[in-house]
Amino acid sequence: MRESIAISSKKLKSSDKKAITMLLIMIVMIVISMIISPTFRSTTNLLNILNQNAIYGVMAFGMGVCILTGAIDLSAGSVAALAGVVATPLFRDYGLAAGLIGGLGIGALIGLVNGVLVMKVKVTYFVTTLGMMSVARGAVFIITNGIPIQGVPREYNVIGMGKIAGSIPTAALIWFLCGIAMYLILKFTRFGQQIYAVGGSERAAWLSGVNTDRIRIAAFTICGFFSALGGLLLNTRVLMATSDAADGYELTVIAACIIGGISMDGGEGNILSTIVGTIIMGLILNMLQLLGISSFWTDAVTGAIIIGAVAIDSLSSKKRE
């Protein structure tokens, strides 16, 4: 009766297929870039790309988790800015640890509030996070009065912009380490499994005895945390906190997640593939700038490429059916 087990065709899940298509698209983009632009191939440029996109990259991990549970977090950019504003005086007066704790703490806290509003007060995630986007940005505004806060010690610049161990960009390193950590958590822990379950069908998970409230609140908290981490990378990159920092980053980050194959309906996707999505977005900008395309064209071309990349994926998987 059980011969069928042995067959075990190891079929790929559709989300994995998507991730692979996107990886291929990324590789093709890199190869094309290498061919048409000699400067592209320089190690400096490649490392630059990694470093430049680390902020989006880490934010995408948080957003990715949030999307996996079937929500999006529009407050990500504002939270990043607020984390910078909170961390800067702490960095200045009390050192690295205090700044990190304060900045990441405020991010996680806001994420927690988002989660509680969504799950306990039953405000839809869209309204909650859109409102929180205003509230957090407003807080930034109130604290800064619109004038940048200075004073992040210069040596912290190594985090946001520098390299360690010779030539490894620190921010990129943080990005990848966080990626691996998140991958392991999502893949190998019960919490991770339940994130996927809740995203797949919140009701079914709830009926099965999963504490869906806790899972989704945790997901929002993680999202706040990573948004704040992005904010701190930004903060240590420019050594100050401005009131318009990270404005609109949430849309870029969401796009990176979806391009990376995380399904908007939740429950499907590999968190590591947000790296691919982020890099594709970054590559587009990098190439447009290296090719000297007028910035008036950047938006149009970026938009077209994003749609195009996802369209290639859908068309190729549509045929398979």
Binding site: N48, G146, I147, M161, V238, M240
Partner: protein, 329 residues
């Protein structure tokens, strides 16, 4: 009265009628013993320049016994019009405008005229041509404008590079009037005075220092040593970002060639450290204070004495003269 038309030469019967009415209304306000209510339409308080400018006004309101209603349009013309409409409904005694976009406030300015509320503009002009030509009565314009600032940047470039050279431009927020007009001023100046200087690349940073770093890094990748001679940024923080990127890429030949806009303390420090070549100086705080004084003068003494344009100078600050200046904020 204050709201009366300064343009006697063009005064029509209507104007005269307005004048009389307005005198009445003004007497009302004074007799009630209220302080004056002044509406301030700021384009975007997230830009430190404007928040400083507003601060210059608000710090003075108690001294002059006026009440300010400051509104931030967040760079959206429509929002700004809404806010000015509410100023009118509130019965503001005077409205100070900093238009998000050139020309966009003309219709609402006319409404202000109709409601006989005196209006003035600060820093950003109402229209490219004289307001009179488009049918708007304006008390005065205080400050300088972005085109002029862009020209000053051109001067700095000229001074730095001589008649020949290639520059890369870091634009602010695409389409924002500050970006458009500053670039216009820069290009005008260069084509008139130094046609040998070419803008070889332009990318926008959204006035975001982090993005300016990215943009500059890509410039540096694209242009090898000797292919660009200077980098011009349209806002101070992008200039700082450019310096960061140059330093981290060890392209020391470009140190001291970055030209910024506005003069916060970090920019001044950077110029003093010879990392940046120079920047323009508009003192927004002082301009704000001056504006409110002019407004107060108009409200108390009438507008007859006020010049049509109260320009302030835009000095250029660069490595050689940096010691003489204080930061704008």
């Amino acid at each position: 009265g204050c709201g009366s038309s300064r343009t006697e030469n063009e005064g029509t019967q209507e104007d005269t009628a307005k004048e009389t009415e307005n005198t009445d209304s003004k007497e009302n306000t004074v007799s009630e013993g209220d302080s004056f209510l002044i509406g301030v339409a700021s384009p975007n308080n997230k830009v430190p320049y404007f928040s400083k400018l507003v601060e210059g006004m608000t710090d003075l309101q108690e001294e002059l016994n006026v009440e300010l209603d400051v509104q931030d349009a967040q760079d959206d013309t429509n929002t700004q019009i809404n806010q000015i409409q509410t100023f009118i409904a509130e019965g503001c005694d005077l409205i100070i405008m900093m238009p998000v976009q050139l020309e966009s406030l003309i219709p609402i300015a006319m409404e202000c005229n109709e409601a006989e509320i005196p209006i003035m503009t600060v820093d950003r002009k109402l229209s490219a041509s004289d307001p009179k030509d488009v049918g708007v009565d304006l008390i005065t314009h205080v400050g300088c404008d972005d085109v002029e600032g862009g020209r000053k940047q051109g001067e700095l470039v000229h001074q730095l590079l001589g008649d020949e050279g290639s520059i890369a431009l870091i634009q602010g927020t695409l389409g924002a009037s500050s970006q458009v007009l500053r670039q216009q001023g820069l290009e005008e100046y260069l084509s008139e005075n130094a046609p040998g200087i070419e803008i070889v690349a332009a990318q926008n940073s959204d006035q975001d220092q982090s993005q300016a770093i990215t943009v500059t890094q890509n410039f540096l990748t694209r242009f090898a040593k000797g292919e660009i001679d200077a980098i011009v940024a349209q806002d101070p923080y992008s200039a700082l970002g450019a310096v960061d990127a140059i330093k981290s890429a060890s392209r020391d030949e470009l140190l001291g060639t970055v030209i910024g806009y506005d003069l916060p303390s970090e920019v001044l420090d950077s110029i003093k450290a010879k990392d940046m070549y120079g920047s323009t100086l508009q003192a927004p705080y002082d301009m704000g204070a001056l504006t409110l004084q002019v407004a107060y003068q108009c409200l108390t003494e009438g507008s007859e004495e006020i010049e049509a344009n109260t320009y302030t100078e835009i000095p250029v600050v660069y490595i050689e003269n940096a010691r003489e200046y204080d930061p704008a904020w």
